[in-house]
Symmetry: D2
Subunit: 365 residues, 4 copies
């Protein structure tokens, strides 16, 4: 089992929900990179629990402490490690769960994988809380990307069956709008859907249940020529990281599954020269990537977020120690919907994946 | 740019559509593995072009020649390299395409990535033909998996808007049925859809156009406990490889995007003991993977295959050498639909991804 | 720049001499491994500074705090992170050294590599202090190896020109002797050399100078069949890690450079069956490794440790900021000889390298 | 078992001595690199057998056939694969050796590692012949390095006990001299030693025996700032590759083992500004690398080459199939000394290691 990822930018992730601390080491950050810690904390606050009625009441300050690789406000080029102390842990909530396998959670597969030695408290290393260090790393990557003119944004595409407009529906998406989205709990192109979505989440909460949704992420300002055919395609790179985020069950680029219903003549994105002589495509059905390589149009993808598995509602399951079937009502502090908290995580892993690619150079010459 | 993938099983892929030969080196095959070459050739024939009216008339025997790592019908444990000679190349078809960027193809992004030095003949290294060595490798992996009781199968979920039943709709899928599927051009649970699908493909062909579709792949017999949380999740592993296959634009596991419309109480797969005392789930919305780890139910995923970009129909594009806009009718031998030929490729990369995981062991102890 | 190493056992190393903390994350430890923390602290104490007159007076408790991957005295299978706080830092000693490049230290190459952004205090990330987390990791690996019957030991082969007997000179080396060596400051087969070596070190210390030496490391109990030809040879694996230890300038396996003066008939290690029917060789000129693979005899190698570069004696060098030549007398707390402190580090990296190999299995079948 | 190495430049090596073909795939070559094939063949001829009385009479043309990644005399940026057909194989020479373990050869460890399935003919994948593809790859890397002003050279430091002068003894080593060395069977600074060395080799040959030696390799023109502390040190990188070459048992950088006999004040390389204002050191005891990073002086290392294990002289060993002790006289075509043929291999892996480092950039900014 490995918490290590990356080629040019390498991450090492660690920690359990109710352990001493969680954290991450980032290798490959260019020396001399100034980090705006205020902005990092903004990203981490977007993911942090306990903000309002839509999320779990567990409160964690999620304040990262940098241990290495950082001096006088700049990266040194050495491995940068940051940790977040776990302070608000209520492990007793989970003690009964050691033997009763929660449906939809990693309890059972994790127990098999680690021969029963994994830390089961609050899902241990499987906890969504371990995405906090990813957001920390991604926030730094986003600052580097911004220097290169690249911006990552996202909005809620849907909660349950309630849908927002898509990125492709928009004439333009400005950097101001992306900034604005970061401040909102439910960032939407069509703000009128906000009430409906909120109601749907609160209804589920009242029922001791949960709901899922879809997040659409987009990348602006990335030049043509990044990525590779086959194993190191941009889609492979991003999908690998997106499926590293707990609760993600699907990803599609550009028009995605709908492109399968088009004919080639419709699906193909035709090239033209815009007024400044830049090469553009009239449609963007391929979501900015063909042959595994960027072509200068926005990268666009949607990720399916399943409804949180931890619910108060009664469920059937097994007690694996006793070998019996049993009923379960999961107590504790739960999110009725994690989609709003997943947004900054998806932006983070997107930024991480792109920075790794860009550090490898546009062409190898 | 790297044609290398894997940890315990490592692949090195090479070749261009109109070069001397294409091939692959496989590292990490256990020594003493008997390879049934007949069965390997069956898999390669499924992917090979020129079989019938549904595919490109380019004929290649796709007969792999093993250069190393194989002695007296068994693997030696040393790197196993196989090559396929390119014999039926008509490069002149492509000479005009050096400067005119075909929409939907890797011509433009590839040109930027390789500063114009990439082999443009027949898409060069970007060609779908380079998947032939992947099918070779995957066929060997499938034989190893079979010894471990693991079987990979797939069917066509849809062509354009015409849909087959899903794996989840079936009461059982037998190994015989999977074998049978391998012999069919359009493997379907509901065979009655075959005519409709064929008509749709031929219609597009007549129009000088193309159609896409969805492939559903499933894995039977895999125990609980393979995979890892975060970066090395089974979904990350498989998605990485699936997006390495040209023309794939989406992937979803289990219920996929539809799980986002369920409530948690519906989405959660409840555990029970079956009559043999084995742990099962009543539904399989998570497609066999939770927390990045298998839980003993079938792995199920669907992949979106876009319509082939090479079409005869007139398209708008640019001549990048002259800096002008132009029209293009792509001559040459094209597939009106590659979905049937993508099936064995998806099974191959699935087998490759799983064997790499399984060689790492079920638990680390 | 990467602090990440390994395949089956993966390490992520971080920290600077005068930063907040140093540490390491270990991936791939089998779940359920009991760790004897007392024994870990014994290994760390061997490396720690400030023990006696032979080493630097800087005192650090070097007490690792485990943050993750460890519960109830056992590994969980999740990444195990440990940190050591830096408490006794006297950064002002080093402030003058930002621009004056100390000969034999990484000041100048590090400055170029990191564009002047590297933490220069106490050599920053280049400090020998960063080997403390390696010893922590190695101590855990040694406990795992012991369970498999494998023991790593070492002695001082030479300090300056004063030589100990070699491992090959011994009829037997018992586990008790290896344990005994771990308790000694100057572990020697020929204890009579101790006084001479001590005098040599203290003489150099008095002169504000330093001395080097050679460490011989040996591995007992390792079966035949670990390792690989070419890139993943056991020699490549161990040499890679040994040269990761600061101040090492050479390594030789078995008879090493002296084998070049033998004829093949003398150099070849002839096989025979011992009384228990086990395969042995009469000599061990190849140091336990042929073709990159172990053959069941002890692994033996010697590593050259250069004299510490930080000395009080006046040296010529440059002030790189001013572009002038200058003289330098390095103040601060220095080791006149680091050979005794390097021993546990070399044992640690040897154990790390072997555990990584052994986790990969003896044969791939 | 893996034939894969590298990060920015990735190699995949394959083949057996008496199989169909041997070869290599190179990933990461910059697109558009012109390759001078004449020069590549010169390097391969230096390593090839059968040139004169000092080496094995087995004759192989060692003419590489490029299969991919190369068009119109230039790299395309796609994986470049080259193979060399095995034509002059006399497998019957080796048939008796399946069960009789040759001392000093990989027969026994390889048999354990691969459960007896490895190709034993002519040492199979363990054969020194597999270094031919490494020389091919290294020759390309050397051409790239030359464009960057970097030159790799080597000479014979010793054969048996007969020593040449060292690189450090020379006032200057010119590029002409390095070119000249490449044309010689026994390249020496002190040409007068040639007769003695030749005699020593021929004497051993007459006795059915073999001799070893030391090769000194040096790199001119490499700037300061390449490499990393700890795991990715230049010494780790080069030692890893050098120990991938069969028959190497030791490596030392700069003054190497002799530095352990110096005091720090003597060992430290003092900086100064030369007449052009460039930073230099007065000595080069560290062999061009401190803290794992280059400092702009030549890289210098020596590698110990053991005497070839295949000798005609009678040896004691075991028949592992029968479990008996036996005598052995190895028939076939042998090298009495492989030092001259190892030179181009060591230059090749040095060039490979450096190009990989340099592609990663001098500093990460």
């Amino acid at each position: 089992m490995s918490g290590i990822w990356g080629k040019n930018l390498q991450l090492s992730l660690f920690g359990e929900s109710h352990g001493v601390a969680i954290g991450i080491t980032i290798n490959g950050l260019p020396p001399g990179l100034e980090i705006d810690m205020e902005q990092v904390l903004v990203e981490m606050a977007r993911r942090a629990p306990g903000k309002n009625e839509l999320t779990t009441p567990r409160k964690e300050k999620d304040h990262p402490e940098i241990l290495s690789g950082f001096l006088d406000g700049k990266t040194t080029g050495a491995p940068l490690t940051a940790i977040i102390w776990n302070t608000n842990t209520r492990s007793k909530d989970y003690s009964v769960l050691k033997d009763v396998m929660r449906p939809g959670q990693a309890d059972y597969p994790g127990r098999v994988r680690y021969n029963g030695h994994n830390d089961h408290r609050g899902s241990g290393h499987f906890s969504g809380r371990i995405t906090a260090p990813l957001v920390f790393a991604g926030a730094i990557c986003q600052q580097w990307l911004k220097q290169k003119g690249v911006t990552v944004g996202s909005h809620i595409q849907s909660i349950g069956t309630i849908e927002d407009e898509t990125f492709e529906d928009q004439e333009t998406v400005t950097l101001e709008q992306i900034e604005q989205f970061k401040e909102e709990q439910l960032p939407l192109f069509n703000a009128e859907k906000k009430v409906e979505m909120t109601d749907l989440i609160l209804e589920a909460k009242e029922d001791g249940d949960s709901v899922g949704g879809v997040v659409e992420t987009f990348v602006l300002g990335l030049d043509a020529g990044y990525g590779n055919p086959f194993f190191d395609s941009v889609e492979s790179q991003l999908a690998h990281l997106v499926f590293a985020v707990p609760a993600i069950k699907g990803i599609e680029f550009g028009t995605g599954f709908d492109i399968t219903k088009m004919r080639g003549s419709e699906a193909n994105d035709e090239y033209y020269y815009d007024e400044q002589g830049r090469i553009k495509t009239r449609s963007n059905n391929n979501g900015g990537i063909i042959g595994g390589i960027t072509y200068g149009m926005p990268i666009v993808f949607r990720a399916a977020v399943k409804p949180p598995a931890s619910i108060k509602k009664k469920q059937q399951t097994i007690n694996i120690q006793e070998g019996t079937e049993t009923e379960l009502e999961v107590e504790g502090r739960h999110d009725p919907c994690i989609v709003p908290r997943v947004l900054p995580v998806l932006e983070a892993v997107t930024a991480i994946g792109l920075m790794d690619l860009m550090l490898g150079g546009q062409s190898n010459e």
